[in-house]
Amino acid sequence: MTALQVQFDATIGHGDRIEPRDWMPEGYRKTLVRQIAQHAHSEIIGMQPEGNWIGRAPSLRRKAILLAKVQDEAGHGLYLYSACETLGVSRGELTEMLIEGRQKYSSIFNYPTLSYADVGTIGWLVDGAAICNQVPLCRTSYGPYGRAMIRICKEESFHQRQGYELLMTMMRGTDEQRAMVQESVDRFWWPALMMFGPPDDESPNSAQSMAWGIKRNGNDELRQRFVDMTVPQAKALGVTLPDPDLVWDEERGAHDFGQPDWSEFVQVVKGNGPCNAQRIAHRRAAHEDGAWVRDAALAFAEGASA
Protein backbone atom coordinates (compact mmCIF):
# COMPACT_ATOMS: atom_id res chain seq x y z
CA MET A 1 0.00 0.00 0.00
CA THR A 2 1.39 3.41 -0.95
CA ALA A 3 1.93 6.26 1.51
CA LEU A 4 -0.76 8.23 -0.34
CA GLN A 5 -3.28 5.42 0.14
CA VAL A 6 -2.37 5.19 3.84
CA GLN A 7 -2.95 8.91 4.28
CA PHE A 8 -6.26 8.75 2.39
CA ASP A 9 -7.47 5.81 4.52
CA ALA A 10 -6.44 7.63 7.70
CA THR A 11 -8.38 10.75 6.69
CA ILE A 12 -11.51 8.66 5.99
CA GLY A 13 -10.90 6.67 9.19
CA HIS A 14 -10.86 9.85 11.30
CA GLY A 15 -14.13 10.97 9.73
CA ASP A 16 -12.27 13.90 8.16
CA ARG A 17 -13.22 15.26 4.75
CA ILE A 18 -11.34 14.67 1.53
CA GLU A 19 -10.76 17.93 -0.36
CA PRO A 20 -10.34 18.43 -4.12
CA ARG A 21 -6.55 18.59 -4.28
CA ASP A 22 -5.98 15.59 -2.01
CA TRP A 23 -4.80 12.35 -3.54
CA MET A 24 -7.67 9.86 -3.85
CA PRO A 25 -8.05 6.36 -5.28
CA GLU A 26 -9.38 6.35 -8.83
CA GLY A 27 -12.39 4.25 -7.76
CA TYR A 28 -13.35 6.84 -5.14
CA ARG A 29 -13.14 9.63 -7.71
CA LYS A 30 -15.16 7.68 -10.28
CA THR A 31 -17.85 6.75 -7.76
CA LEU A 32 -18.18 10.38 -6.69
CA VAL A 33 -18.34 11.67 -10.25
CA ARG A 34 -21.07 9.14 -11.03
CA GLN A 35 -23.09 9.89 -7.89
CA ILE A 36 -22.75 13.70 -7.88
CA ALA A 37 -23.42 13.93 -11.62
CA GLN A 38 -26.48 11.71 -11.27
CA HIS A 39 -27.66 13.91 -8.43
CA ALA A 40 -27.05 17.12 -10.42
CA HIS A 41 -28.81 15.73 -13.50
CA SER A 42 -31.79 14.77 -11.30
CA GLU A 43 -32.17 18.36 -10.12
CA ILE A 44 -31.99 19.68 -13.69
CA ILE A 45 -34.34 17.08 -15.20
CA GLY A 46 -36.56 17.50 -12.12
CA MET A 47 -37.40 21.02 -13.30
CA GLN A 48 -39.49 19.56 -16.14
CA PRO A 49 -42.35 17.69 -14.43
CA GLU A 50 -43.16 20.68 -12.24
CA GLY A 51 -42.32 23.29 -14.86
CA ASN A 52 -45.13 21.64 -16.80
CA TRP A 53 -47.63 23.34 -14.43
CA ILE A 54 -46.18 26.86 -14.10
CA GLY A 55 -48.34 28.27 -16.87
CA ARG A 56 -51.44 26.59 -15.46
CA ALA A 57 -51.03 27.19 -11.72
CA PRO A 58 -54.42 28.31 -10.40
CA SER A 59 -53.39 31.65 -8.89
CA LEU A 60 -50.60 34.19 -9.00
CA ARG A 61 -49.53 33.07 -5.51
CA ARG A 62 -49.22 29.43 -6.59
CA LYS A 63 -47.43 30.47 -9.77
CA ALA A 64 -44.87 32.53 -7.85
CA ILE A 65 -44.25 29.64 -5.43
CA LEU A 66 -43.83 27.11 -8.23
CA LEU A 67 -41.49 29.41 -10.14
CA ALA A 68 -39.33 29.88 -7.03
CA LYS A 69 -39.27 26.14 -6.48
CA VAL A 70 -38.25 25.29 -10.03
CA GLN A 71 -35.59 28.01 -9.86
CA ASP A 72 -34.27 26.34 -6.69
CA GLU A 73 -33.98 23.02 -8.54
CA ALA A 74 -31.84 24.78 -11.15
CA GLY A 75 -29.72 26.23 -8.34
CA HIS A 76 -29.33 22.81 -6.72
CA GLY A 77 -28.20 21.38 -10.04
CA LEU A 78 -25.60 24.14 -10.32
CA TYR A 79 -24.23 23.63 -6.78
CA LEU A 80 -23.80 19.95 -7.57
CA TYR A 81 -22.27 20.46 -11.02
CA SER A 82 -19.74 22.80 -9.45
CA ALA A 83 -18.92 20.18 -6.77
CA CYS A 84 -18.53 17.54 -9.49
CA GLU A 85 -16.21 19.76 -11.53
CA THR A 86 -13.73 19.84 -8.62
CA LEU A 87 -13.11 16.16 -9.51
CA GLY A 88 -11.74 17.07 -12.91
CA VAL A 89 -14.74 16.76 -15.23
CA SER A 90 -16.03 19.76 -17.14
CA ARG A 91 -19.57 21.09 -17.19
CA GLY A 92 -19.74 20.49 -20.93
CA GLU A 93 -18.74 16.84 -20.53
CA LEU A 94 -21.39 16.33 -17.83
CA THR A 95 -24.13 17.85 -19.98
CA GLU A 96 -23.07 15.71 -22.93
CA MET A 97 -23.07 12.54 -20.83
CA LEU A 98 -26.63 13.33 -19.70
CA ILE A 99 -28.08 14.01 -23.13
CA GLU A 100 -26.28 11.04 -24.65
CA GLY A 101 -27.67 8.76 -21.94
CA ARG A 102 -24.22 7.82 -20.58
CA GLN A 103 -25.10 9.11 -17.10
CA LYS A 104 -28.38 8.61 -15.30
CA TYR A 105 -30.76 10.68 -13.19
CA SER A 106 -33.35 9.67 -10.62
CA SER A 107 -36.04 7.42 -12.06
CA ILE A 108 -38.79 9.43 -10.31
CA PHE A 109 -38.58 12.20 -12.90
CA ASN A 110 -39.58 9.82 -15.67
CA TYR A 111 -43.15 9.79 -14.38
CA PRO A 112 -45.60 12.33 -15.82
CA THR A 113 -47.38 15.12 -13.89
CA LEU A 114 -50.94 14.49 -15.04
CA SER A 115 -52.79 16.78 -12.65
CA TYR A 116 -52.05 19.96 -10.73
CA ALA A 117 -52.27 17.95 -7.48
CA ASP A 118 -49.01 16.31 -8.60
CA VAL A 119 -47.21 19.58 -7.81
CA GLY A 120 -48.25 19.12 -4.18
CA THR A 121 -47.51 15.40 -4.12
CA ILE A 122 -44.04 15.91 -5.57
CA GLY A 123 -43.27 18.49 -2.89
CA TRP A 124 -44.58 16.27 -0.12
CA LEU A 125 -43.45 12.76 -1.16
CA VAL A 126 -40.68 13.23 -3.71
CA ASP A 127 -38.94 16.09 -1.92
CA GLY A 128 -39.68 14.35 1.40
CA ALA A 129 -37.86 11.24 0.15
CA ALA A 130 -35.07 13.42 -1.24
CA ILE A 131 -34.63 15.03 2.20
CA CYS A 132 -34.29 11.58 3.82
CA ASN A 133 -31.59 10.73 1.28
CA GLN A 134 -29.83 14.08 1.43
CA VAL A 135 -29.60 14.94 5.12
CA PRO A 136 -27.05 12.14 5.81
CA LEU A 137 -25.11 13.23 2.70
CA CYS A 138 -24.29 16.55 4.42
CA ARG A 139 -21.67 14.41 6.27
CA THR A 140 -20.37 12.65 3.18
CA SER A 141 -16.60 12.23 3.06
CA TYR A 142 -16.01 14.48 0.02
CA GLY A 143 -15.95 18.12 1.19
CA PRO A 144 -17.46 19.93 -1.83
CA TYR A 145 -20.31 17.40 -2.08
CA GLY A 146 -21.17 17.74 1.62
CA ARG A 147 -21.12 21.54 1.41
CA ALA A 148 -23.43 21.50 -1.62
CA MET A 149 -25.79 19.17 0.27
CA ILE A 150 -25.93 21.54 3.24
CA ARG A 151 -27.06 24.38 1.00
CA ILE A 152 -29.59 22.13 -0.71
CA CYS A 153 -31.07 20.75 2.51
CA LYS A 154 -31.65 24.28 3.82
CA GLU A 155 -33.81 25.01 0.79
CA GLU A 156 -35.50 21.63 0.51
CA SER A 157 -37.71 22.20 3.56
CA PHE A 158 -39.55 25.00 1.71
CA HIS A 159 -40.22 22.55 -1.11
CA GLN A 160 -41.76 19.92 1.10
CA ARG A 161 -43.87 22.37 3.10
CA GLN A 162 -45.28 24.19 0.05
CA GLY A 163 -46.31 20.82 -1.38
CA TYR A 164 -47.98 19.64 1.78
CA GLU A 165 -49.77 22.97 2.22
CA LEU A 166 -51.00 22.79 -1.38
CA LEU A 167 -52.46 19.33 -0.72
CA MET A 168 -54.01 20.45 2.58
CA THR A 169 -55.73 23.29 0.74
CA MET A 170 -57.12 20.89 -1.86
CA MET A 171 -58.26 18.46 0.86
CA ARG A 172 -60.33 21.30 2.37
CA GLY A 173 -61.96 21.86 -1.05
CA THR A 174 -64.51 19.82 -3.01
CA ASP A 175 -64.92 16.03 -3.27
CA GLU A 176 -63.45 16.30 -6.75
CA GLN A 177 -60.33 18.03 -5.40
CA ARG A 178 -59.92 15.42 -2.64
CA ALA A 179 -60.19 12.70 -5.28
CA MET A 180 -57.47 14.45 -7.31
CA VAL A 181 -55.14 14.39 -4.31
CA GLN A 182 -55.78 10.71 -3.59
CA GLU A 183 -55.30 9.76 -7.24
CA SER A 184 -52.02 11.66 -7.32
CA VAL A 185 -50.75 10.04 -4.09
CA ASP A 186 -51.70 6.62 -5.50
CA ARG A 187 -49.52 7.24 -8.56
CA PHE A 188 -46.51 8.67 -6.72
CA TRP A 189 -46.27 6.49 -3.61
CA TRP A 190 -44.44 3.52 -5.14
CA PRO A 191 -42.10 5.56 -7.36
CA ALA A 192 -41.24 7.63 -4.25
CA LEU A 193 -40.24 4.44 -2.39
CA MET A 194 -38.08 3.45 -5.35
CA MET A 195 -36.07 6.68 -4.94
CA PHE A 196 -34.03 5.00 -2.19
CA GLY A 197 -32.71 2.50 -4.70
CA PRO A 198 -32.91 -1.30 -4.74
CA PRO A 199 -32.79 -3.34 -1.49
CA ASP A 200 -29.31 -3.35 0.07
CA ASP A 201 -28.55 -6.95 -0.92
CA GLU A 202 -29.17 -6.06 -4.59
CA SER A 203 -27.39 -2.70 -4.56
CA PRO A 204 -24.00 -3.37 -6.19
CA ASN A 205 -22.10 -0.22 -5.15
CA SER A 206 -23.51 0.34 -1.66
CA ALA A 207 -20.93 -1.49 0.47
CA GLN A 208 -17.91 0.23 -1.09
CA SER A 209 -19.64 3.63 -0.92
CA MET A 210 -20.32 3.10 2.78
CA ALA A 211 -16.70 2.06 3.40
CA TRP A 212 -15.50 5.27 1.73
CA GLY A 213 -17.94 7.36 3.76
CA ILE A 214 -19.65 8.58 0.58
CA LYS A 215 -22.93 7.04 1.71
CA ARG A 216 -23.74 7.02 5.41
CA ASN A 217 -26.88 4.83 5.49
CA GLY A 218 -28.25 1.82 3.60
CA ASN A 219 -31.12 2.10 1.13
CA ASP A 220 -33.50 0.00 3.23
CA GLU A 221 -32.81 1.96 6.41
CA LEU A 222 -33.60 5.27 4.69
CA ARG A 223 -36.71 3.83 3.02
CA GLN A 224 -37.95 2.68 6.43
CA ARG A 225 -37.28 6.13 7.90
CA PHE A 226 -39.27 7.74 5.08
CA VAL A 227 -42.27 5.42 5.54
CA ASP A 228 -42.31 6.01 9.31
CA MET A 229 -42.16 9.78 8.78
CA THR A 230 -44.83 9.83 6.09
CA VAL A 231 -47.57 7.67 7.62
CA PRO A 232 -48.66 10.25 10.26
CA GLN A 233 -48.44 13.02 7.65
CA ALA A 234 -50.80 11.05 5.38
CA LYS A 235 -53.18 10.58 8.29
CA ALA A 236 -53.18 14.31 9.09
CA LEU A 237 -53.83 15.03 5.42
CA GLY A 238 -56.66 12.49 5.19
CA VAL A 239 -55.27 10.39 2.33
CA THR A 240 -54.66 6.64 2.11
CA LEU A 241 -51.25 5.28 1.14
CA PRO A 242 -51.90 2.60 -1.50
CA ASP A 243 -50.21 -0.32 0.26
CA PRO A 244 -52.40 -3.08 1.77
CA ASP A 245 -49.39 -4.43 3.69
CA LEU A 246 -48.69 -1.15 5.48
CA VAL A 247 -49.15 -1.75 9.24
CA TRP A 248 -47.51 -0.62 12.45
CA ASP A 249 -45.25 -3.33 13.88
CA GLU A 250 -45.32 -2.96 17.64
CA GLU A 251 -42.30 -5.22 18.18
CA ARG A 252 -40.03 -3.44 15.73
CA GLY A 253 -41.41 -0.02 16.62
CA ALA A 254 -41.66 0.66 12.89
CA HIS A 255 -44.06 0.15 9.98
CA ASP A 256 -44.11 -3.00 7.90
CA PHE A 257 -44.75 -2.23 4.27
CA GLY A 258 -44.88 -3.86 0.84
CA GLN A 259 -42.14 -3.84 -1.79
CA PRO A 260 -42.35 -1.63 -4.87
CA ASP A 261 -42.43 -3.39 -8.23
CA TRP A 262 -38.69 -3.67 -8.75
CA SER A 263 -39.09 -4.91 -12.33
CA GLU A 264 -40.77 -1.57 -13.13
CA PHE A 265 -37.83 0.21 -11.47
CA VAL A 266 -35.35 -1.68 -13.64
CA GLN A 267 -37.33 -0.82 -16.76
CA VAL A 268 -37.46 2.90 -15.90
CA VAL A 269 -33.74 2.98 -15.08
CA LYS A 270 -33.04 1.27 -18.42
CA GLY A 271 -34.83 4.09 -20.21
CA ASN A 272 -38.23 2.53 -20.72
CA GLY A 273 -40.24 4.65 -18.28
CA PRO A 274 -43.22 6.74 -19.36
CA CYS A 275 -41.23 9.97 -19.97
CA ASN A 276 -37.53 9.06 -20.38
CA ALA A 277 -37.33 9.95 -24.07
CA GLN A 278 -39.31 13.16 -23.63
CA ARG A 279 -37.17 14.38 -20.71
CA ILE A 280 -33.88 13.89 -22.53
CA ALA A 281 -35.21 15.31 -25.80
CA HIS A 282 -36.32 18.43 -23.93
CA ARG A 283 -32.96 18.82 -22.19
CA ARG A 284 -31.08 18.31 -25.44
CA ALA A 285 -33.25 20.89 -27.25
CA ALA A 286 -32.73 23.45 -24.46
CA HIS A 287 -28.97 22.88 -24.59
CA GLU A 288 -28.73 23.07 -28.38
CA ASP A 289 -31.13 26.00 -28.73
CA GLY A 290 -29.03 27.90 -26.17
CA ALA A 291 -25.73 27.34 -27.97
CA TRP A 292 -25.85 30.65 -29.86
CA VAL A 293 -26.34 32.54 -26.57
CA ARG A 294 -23.29 30.88 -25.00
CA ASP A 295 -21.19 31.54 -28.11
CA ALA A 296 -22.36 35.15 -28.43
CA ALA A 297 -21.63 35.93 -24.76
CA LEU A 298 -18.13 34.46 -25.10
CA ALA A 299 -17.46 36.38 -28.33
CA PHE A 300 -18.67 39.58 -26.65
CA ALA A 301 -16.44 39.00 -23.62
CA GLU A 302 -13.42 38.37 -25.83
CA GLY A 303 -14.15 41.48 -27.92
CA ALA A 304 -14.55 43.61 -24.79
CA SER A 305 -11.22 42.46 -23.33
CA ALA A 306 -9.27 42.76 -26.63
Binding site: G75, S82, G92, R151
Partner: protein, 98 residues
Protein backbone atom coordinates in the same frame (compact mmCIF):
# COMPACT_ATOMS: atom_id res chain seq x y z
CA UNK B 1 -8.71 34.02 -22.99
CA UNK B 2 -9.64 32.07 -26.11
CA UNK B 3 -8.67 28.67 -24.74
CA UNK B 4 -12.05 27.24 -23.78
CA UNK B 5 -12.64 23.53 -24.35
CA UNK B 6 -16.00 23.01 -26.13
CA UNK B 7 -16.62 26.76 -26.03
CA UNK B 8 -17.22 26.60 -22.28
CA UNK B 9 -17.43 29.76 -20.27
CA UNK B 10 -14.55 30.14 -17.79
CA UNK B 11 -14.95 29.01 -14.18
CA UNK B 12 -15.25 31.60 -11.40
CA UNK B 13 -14.94 31.11 -7.65
CA UNK B 14 -17.59 32.94 -5.63
CA UNK B 15 -17.18 34.62 -2.22
CA UNK B 16 -20.10 36.07 -0.26
CA UNK B 17 -20.12 38.44 2.72
CA UNK B 18 -23.03 37.14 4.80
CA UNK B 19 -23.58 40.42 6.62
CA UNK B 20 -21.69 43.55 7.60
CA UNK B 21 -18.83 42.76 9.94
CA UNK B 22 -18.08 39.31 8.48
CA UNK B 23 -15.43 38.22 5.97
CA UNK B 24 -16.27 37.16 2.46
CA UNK B 25 -16.42 33.36 2.50
CA UNK B 26 -16.01 30.97 -0.41
CA UNK B 27 -19.42 29.47 -1.28
CA UNK B 28 -18.81 27.62 -4.55
CA UNK B 29 -18.16 28.25 -8.20
CA UNK B 30 -19.96 28.94 -11.46
CA UNK B 31 -19.36 29.56 -15.15
CA UNK B 32 -19.75 32.96 -16.77
CA UNK B 33 -18.58 34.61 -19.98
CA UNK B 34 -17.15 37.64 -18.16
CA UNK B 35 -16.74 39.24 -14.73
CA UNK B 36 -20.00 41.17 -14.80
CA UNK B 37 -22.03 38.10 -15.76
CA UNK B 38 -20.27 36.15 -13.01
CA UNK B 39 -21.51 38.62 -10.38
CA UNK B 40 -25.03 38.45 -11.75
CA UNK B 41 -25.03 34.65 -11.86
CA UNK B 42 -23.55 34.52 -8.36
CA UNK B 43 -26.46 36.59 -7.10
CA UNK B 44 -28.98 34.20 -8.70
CA UNK B 45 -27.23 30.97 -7.70
CA UNK B 46 -25.85 31.76 -4.24
CA UNK B 47 -28.01 34.54 -2.72
CA UNK B 48 -31.65 33.70 -3.45
CA UNK B 49 -32.53 34.00 0.25
CA UNK B 50 -30.64 37.02 1.56
CA UNK B 51 -27.45 35.01 2.12
CA UNK B 52 -25.26 38.00 1.40
CA UNK B 53 -24.70 41.75 1.25
CA UNK B 54 -21.64 41.64 -1.00
CA UNK B 55 -20.22 39.27 -3.61
CA UNK B 56 -16.67 38.78 -4.91
CA UNK B 57 -15.96 36.67 -7.98
CA UNK B 58 -12.53 35.67 -9.22
CA UNK B 59 -11.47 33.60 -12.21
CA UNK B 60 -10.55 30.14 -10.87
CA UNK B 61 -7.38 30.13 -13.00
CA UNK B 62 -6.24 33.31 -11.19
CA UNK B 63 -6.16 31.60 -7.78
CA UNK B 64 -2.73 30.61 -6.49
CA UNK B 65 -2.89 27.82 -3.90
CA UNK B 66 -0.40 26.60 -1.31
CA UNK B 67 0.21 23.10 -2.68
CA UNK B 68 -1.46 20.12 -4.33
CA UNK B 69 -2.27 18.70 -0.91
CA UNK B 70 -4.32 20.15 1.94
CA UNK B 71 -1.89 18.65 4.46
CA UNK B 72 1.15 20.61 3.66
CA UNK B 73 4.78 21.12 4.78
CA UNK B 74 4.12 24.84 4.14
CA UNK B 75 2.21 24.88 7.42
CA UNK B 76 4.76 22.80 9.35
CA UNK B 77 6.76 25.85 10.61
CA UNK B 78 3.71 27.11 12.50
CA UNK B 79 3.36 23.71 14.19
CA UNK B 80 6.59 24.07 16.20
CA UNK B 81 6.04 27.71 17.22
CA UNK B 82 3.86 26.99 20.21
CA UNK B 83 5.00 30.27 21.79
CA UNK B 84 2.63 32.00 19.33
CA UNK B 85 -0.31 30.75 21.36
CA UNK B 86 -1.47 32.36 24.64
CA UNK B 87 -1.62 29.00 26.40
CA UNK B 88 2.22 28.72 26.10
CA UNK B 89 2.63 31.13 29.03
CA UNK B 90 2.06 30.15 32.67
CA UNK B 91 0.43 32.92 34.64
CA UNK B 92 -0.73 32.40 38.25
CA UNK B 93 -4.49 31.90 38.58
CA UNK B 94 -4.89 34.84 40.96
CA UNK B 95 -3.70 37.42 38.40
CA UNK B 96 -6.94 38.97 37.05
CA UNK B 97 -7.95 39.77 33.44
CA UNK B 98 -5.20 37.70 31.83
Amino acid sequence: MTDHPRGEWPLYEVFVRGKRGLNHVHVGSLHAADDEMAVRHARDVYTRRNEGVSIWVVRADAVTASSPDEKDPLFAPSGDKVYRHPTFYDIPDDVPHM
